[in-house]
């Protein structure tokens, strides 16, 4: 019996931990969700200045002003140099022109790859046809950030591939 005591003890510790954490989780869950929704709303507002409301269908945000749809937005996750990059992408109503992008989170090298979050980079996507969203050296129309080609390419490829996927979904 004594042989099993450590296992027994550890199990009790883990069990108490689980109980404590599920209580904390249930207390904070709603607040975290609300917090994230508010952050998304702010980002959508920055992208679509005329927006009055949005509806979420599947994982695509339909941006509305009054009764009219003024654009579409969705989130994309790509692999950068230091980890995953989460991006919010906005499309015009023609479903081919980029309204704008914004980087929600990233783990790129501070001061180098992390420059993908700056407007000086994200503004380069505004008004581009989705098929031209490639780096200049890959035959597209987006200039990468010098010294951060991997991060720039990750953003560009993620934006194009995800957008093409979602455009297909919208068409269906």
């Amino acid at each position: 019996m004594k042989k099993y005591y450590p296992i027994f003890f550890l199990a009790i510790i883990v069990l108490s931990s689980v109980v404590l954490l599920s209580i904390t989780n249930s207390l904070t869950k709603d607040k975290i969700l609300a917090q994230e929704e508010e952050a998304t709303l702010t980002q959508l507002n920055n992208m679509f200045s005329e927006m009055t409301n949005y509806t979420l269908d599947g994982d695509i945000y339909f941006i509305t002003a009054g009764d009219n749809i003024i654009g579409y937005a969705f989130k994309a996750i790509g692999n950068g140099y230091g980890g995953s990059i989460s991006i919010l992408i906005g499309l015009e109503t023609d479903k081919t022109t980029v309204k704008g992008i914004s980087i929600i989170s990233n783990a790129e090298t501070a001061g180098l790859g992390s420059r993908i979050t700056l407007p000086s980079f994200t503004d380069r996507f505004i008004g581009k046809n989705i098929n031209d969203v490639k780096l200049t050296q890959d035959g597209g129309q987006i200039d990468g950030i010098s010294g951060s080609t991997i991060s720039s390419r990750a953003v560009v490829e993620t934006v194009r591939n995800t957008a093409l996927e979602k455009i297909q979904e919208l068409a269906d």
């Binding site: 550890l10 510790i13 883990v14 954490l21 904390t24 904070t28 607040k31 917090q35």
Partner: protein, 204 residues
């Protein structure tokens, strides 16, 4: 009460985790770019060490030696996760800045170190003093570091959105290296030298 105070000041000054024992460098380098993140880290770490030390000390007689490290880690991780969830819901801005360094408190050498080397051998009151001292001692150290880094690196000193001081010349031409990782090494090195010079270490 006397024991609590004795252990508290021991960790606060004589064996300050960062300046004297040189532990916890990862967070100290990473999140000392602003006073806000340093304050958040101080609060999170102190909370975690306090509870981990207290509980480890309370159950120290029943912890089987072979599984003591897993036990410490599970207890530590529980409180770290609580801090993570609470920060995420109430102070999302600070939570975002601290990022990975908040969950990493779990493997923080100070948290595990105090449980292993102190709390499991000592009575609760002493362990509480030791835990609070380690948390606040480390906290004071990173607050001092972030004070210099933010002041020289951005030229503006602000706390929770309120600007305290704006330096006239540095405001326009900040010394960028202070915000970058090498700046953390410079500031920590200079402060460590100062701690040695003033003889705090000799009293140990």
């Amino acid at each position: 009460m006397k024991v609590l105070w004795k252990e508290f000041t021991k960790m606060l000054v004589v064996s300050n985790p960062l300046f004297v024992v040189l532990l916890g460098f990862c967070p100290a380098l990473a999140i000392t770019t602003s006073l806000d993140s340093a304050l958040g880290m101080t609060f999170g770490l102190t909370f975690c060490i306090f509870f981990t030390n207290t509980i480890v000390s309370l159950i120290r007689k029943w912890i089987p030696n072979v599984v003591r490290i897993p036990v410490f880690i599970v207890i530590g991780a529980t409180f770290v996760t609580i801090v993570d969830l609470v920060f995420h819901s109430y102070v999302p801005a600070i939570w975002a800045v601290l990022g990975i360094y908040l969950p990493l408190i779990t493997t923080n050498c100070i948290l595990l170190g105090r449980a292993e080397s102190f709390a499991q051998h000592n009575r609760v009151v002493a362990a509480i003093g030791d835990g609070l001292g380690a948390g606040i001692g480390f906290g004071l150290a990173i607050i001092i570091i972030s004070f210099f880094r933010q002041l020289f690196g951005t030229g503006v000193l602000s706390i929770l959105g309120h600007t305290i001081v704006t330096l006239p010349l540095l405001n326009e031409h900040p010394i960028g290296i202070f915000i970058l990782p090498p700046g953390a090494f410079l500031v920590i090195g200079l402060l460590h030298a100062l701690f040695r010079r003033t003889g705090v270490e000799k009293s140990e």
